[in-house]
Amino acid sequence: MSTDINAIELTVNGVPYPVAIDTSRNLSGVLRNEIGLTGTKEGCDDCECGACMVLLDGQPINSCSYLAVQAQGREITTVEGLADGDELHPLQRNILATGGVQCGFCTPGMLMSAQALLDRNPDPSLEDIKIGLSGNLCRCTGYARILAAVDATAVELRGTSDS
């Protein structure tokens, strides 16, 4: 068994967390077990389902297959960082309003992929949204309501930034 323990600092949702971890640990496991942010889910441990999607300097990554030590010095955003205090992020509000949440297990990863998409493309076509979310599996919804929620959010956010 490896005993290669490193004391590092991870910045998650703007908060610095000092952690002592084995070099082999994946980011999702450290977020969930050491830092205590369990919103990030683990569905396959193999980059196949997208439930563990987080943002690393704004880029979506499958945190199950990313070494935690590689995230040092970078900005990690998880689903817990989306809302502004008690105010839900428009993506969160809209995915509830459209009925895009059922079991909710894919939802955090789906929201993070959607956030990354809207950050890089504020005016996505439906096709763009499909491509942006194609790394996130949902077994419950049939996706249409998730698609509608992201589309509605893009419209809403453009309206806000225009005004």
Binding site: L88, C103, G104
Partner: protein, 761 residues
């Protein structure tokens, strides 16, 4: 999309789920908690000659290693009690649990698992269904009669349940038929694939155990612990945190007893979290593979006069809840048609595959795919349009079905008409590489006992304590609406206490589309009790008769005199100082529909359908003939599921069920190697549909009055959308290439091969 047209549905668990604050089982940690891991058989059929856990136990950080020797010697299961918690003597599939380890970390637990020594004498592996029913086949279980057997479960050799439905004289009618068509279809096994892999945590305090688990059925899970660990009901508490999807895959007790026994041995709380590979290969919840041979005779006008069928279903190594599968499959191969002469024989066959168990509408998608593909072959044989053929032969209100059940008001004819109209069947011009395919299907509603408690507090807020289980469908959330409606409150005044066997009355949980149908009826009764109390209080206060009190908009008022009114919160406040506002309810037994003129071997409760649901799906499919790749562009779905109380959730069920159906149709097939092990136990190899694959879905509901329905005329809904989609896609492909693809899933390779066969022929 017309989402904005739908009434607001407040999903009480929604904010938890979108902010990440909601806890699923794997998110929980208890003080002193150990990691649990299993040692699996690793071979599909063998006699255990040595099982030595001493080296595993000696590893520092290992707290317990348990095997069959450490738990009561109990064989259990539904129908045929053929299994034990841990393998005993013989292993019969590769994912069977030999031993469980509890250790200080998952890494140490894995080292201990690897240090367990097991030796085997290999036994012949049974995987081929037709070979398995031959007289000279090796047996998966040497002596079924040595097990406790319950219900009408005819069995012999490797056949666990033999079931049949028979009516009229099919041989004579077939001999006299104008046209006879015989077809064979073979469906691969598939999987439920919830995105959340299952997890179980157990913690003992004295002689009581609390178990947190990702189950759909908390009371079944509790009962399974009680049965296998020989414990009284009152000593086992099952709590279900949020569940990350089930689709039947998390029905039945799964690993709650194992982890409870392990935690007792380790004297620490233990937590099991499955990997995706384990989720695919170990649980007893695989959708069964099936071989369908079906023959149908038509008269000169195209009326079905006779149908015979022979079905083989792959049960895998043990009975999970599968004893009813043979009869259920027979019903789907008969189909919702008027057929005066029927004989369908179905055999549920033991093999050395992972056990089969209820996955969303068990047996239906495969059975429906086979018989609906066959139906288009019938229509083609007499040159009739598939829609017209179905219009001629389906069951309508007052008709007698294939087991002699007379249907009261049903809406299948309307499903067919509305789906055809929505798609533009016969009117929409399609490009040469596109076609429509149509399929119908059915699924019962089920009565099971369920209870509910309810209390109204001094502030007028209500708690519903229900045994219902929310695995995502939203149907538990709908229970708030039922309570609020009876009490004249807003649904946000109602809070749910659910998924805790120590708090709530028993019920079926999230299985068999039963939440609203059963738990809903219990909630209505409990709410009526409190409503009655409120009316009495209001009557006294308003000097009126209780019968004249109306509860609406948060107030109790006298009918016809809205000025005579008192806020409900005022009544609640008064009651808190006197007789408390408490309600309870339990479902009334519903009468099972009668069947006449048929005989059924292996009766398992599926020969008649209570409050039957009917469905028609039309799929528009584009096919690339050079590659065999089929793409579903549109699905037009019309469902008769009775009254729709929660449109957002109802549409969500239909849309999700259709996507699952497309997966089963095109990409989702469990593949086995020659040793009986699954070859594609990962999500890159076992492909679910992605958002990029999702078609446009147009859903409509036929809302007609249904006798024997659930609350406010609702039937079940969660399983029905999964039934006919594969059949509709199959018929679209067949329309494009001139013949059906006879294997499910209809992968690009199989479609291409079917085209190639035609060219060769």
């Amino acid at each position: 999309m017309a989402i904005t047209d739908l009434p607001t549905f407040v999903r009480a668990d929604g904010p938890d789920k979108v902010t990440g604050s909601g806890r699923y089982t794997a998110d929980m940690t208890l003080t002193g908690m150990l990691a649990a891991k299993f040692r699996y058989a690793g071979v599909s059929h063998a006699r255990i000659t040595k099982l030595d856990v001493s080296a595993a136990k000696a590893i520092p950080g290992v707290f317990a290693v348990i095997t069959a020797d450490d738990v009561p010697d109990v064989r259990y299961s539904y129908g045929i009690a053929d299994r034990t918690l841990f393998a005993k003597g013989v292993v019969r599939y590769d994912g069977e649990v030999l031993a469980a380890v509890a250790a200080i970390s998952p890494e140490v637990a894995q080292r201990a698992v690897d240090a367990i020594v097991v030796e085997y004498d290999e036994l012949p592996i049974v995987t081929d269904l037709e070979a398995a029913v031959a007289d000279d086949s090796p047996l998966v279980h040497d002596d079924l009669d040595g097990y406790a057997i319950t219900g009408d479960t005819p069995h012999h050799g490797n056949v666990g349940t033999h079931s049949s439905i028979e009516m009229g004289d099919p041989d004579a009618a077939m001999a006299a038929a104008h046209t006879v068509v015989s077809s064979r279809f073979v469906a691969d096994a598939s999987h439920a694939v919830p995105i959340e892999p299952r997890a179980v945590i157990a913690q003992w305090e004295g002689d009581k155990v609390t178990i947190w688990t990702s189950t759909q059925v908390p009371f079944d899970a509790r009962n399974g612990v009680c049965e296998t660990l020989e414990m009284p009901t009152t000593k086992v508490r099952v709590i279900v945190p949020h569940v990350g999807g089930g689709f039947g895959g998390k029905c039945g007790p799964h690993y709650e007893p194992h982890i409870a026994a392990l935690a007792r041995a380790a004297k620490r709380p233990c937590k099991l979290v499955f990997s995706r590979w384990e989720e695919f290969t170990a649980p007893d919840r695989r959708r069964e593979g099936m071989i369908v041979d079906v023959t149908t005779g038509l008269d000169a006008e195209g009326n079905i006069v006779a149908r015979t069928g022979e079905l083989l279903l792959d049960n895998g190594a043990y009975m999970a809840d599968s004893s009813f599968f043979a009869q259920a499959a027979a019903m789907h191969v008969a189909g919702p048609y008027t057929i005066p002469n029927v004989r369908i024989d179905a055999q549920l066959v033991y093999t050395n595959h992972q056990p089969s168990g209820s996955v969303r509408a068990p047996t239906a998608p495969q059975g429906c795919w086979a018989v609906e593909s066959h139906t288009d072959e019938l229509a083609a044989a007499i040159g009739m349009d598939p829609l017209d053929f179905r219009r001629r032969n389906i069951v309508r209100t007052g008709d007698v079905g294939p087991t002699g059940q007379t249907y009261e008001e049903i809406g299948l004819d309307r499903c067919l008409d509305m789906a055809a109209e929505s798609a533009g069947w016969g009117t929409t011009e399609l490009p040469d590489d596109e076609a429509f395919g149509i399929s119908i299907g059915w699924w019962p509603s089920f009565h099971m006992p369920a209870g509910a408690y309810m209390k109204m507090h001094a502030d007028g807020k209500v708690q519903v304590i229900t045994g219902a289980n929310e695995c995502g469908t939203g149907s538990v959330m709908t229970l708030r609406m039922l309570a609020a409606d009876e009490l004249g409150l807003d649904q946000t005044d109602v809070e749910l206490v659910y998924q805790d066997t120590a708090a709530a009355p028993d019920g079926p949980g999230a299985s068999g589309s039963m939440t609203l149908f059963n738990h809903g009826r219990a909630v209505e009764k409990a709410a009526k009790e409190i409503a009655g109390q409120l009316r009495e209080l209001a009557a006294t206060k308003l000097e009126a008769s209780a019968a004249d009190i109306v509860l609406a908009d948060g107030a109790a008022s006298v009918a016809g005199t809205p000025t005579k009114s008192v806020p409900i919160v005022e009544l609640a406040e008064a009651a808190a100082e006197g007789e408390l506002l408490l309600g309870s309810g339990s479902t009334d037994e519903l009468e099972w529909p009668e069947i006449k003129g048929s005989s059924c071997l292996g009766e398992q409760g599926f020969s008649s359908f209570m409050a039957p649901q009917f469905i028609c799906h039309v799929a528009r499919v584009r096919l690339d003939k050079d590659t065999g790749v089929a793409r579903v562009l549109e699905v037009h779905a019309v469902h008769d599921s009775g009254t729709i109380l929660n449109p957002v959730a109802a549409h969500g069920q239909v849309e999700g069920g259709i996507l699952m159906g497309i997966g089963q149709a095109l990409t989702e097939g469990t593949q086995y190697d020659e040793t009986g092990s699954q070859r594609n136990a990962a999500l890159l190899e076992y492909k679910l549909q992605t958002i990029a694959d999702a078609p446009e879905i147009h859903t409509q509901f036929v809302e007609i009055h249904t006798p024997n329905a659930g609350p406010k005329g609702a039937k079940g809904l969660a399983e029905a959308p999964n039934v006919p989609t594969a059949g509709a896609i199959s018929n679209a492909i067949a329309a494009l290439i001139g013949r059906p693809v006879r294997q499910l899933p209809m992968t690009a390779e199989r479609v291409w091969s079917t085209i190639a066969e035609e060219v060769t022929a």
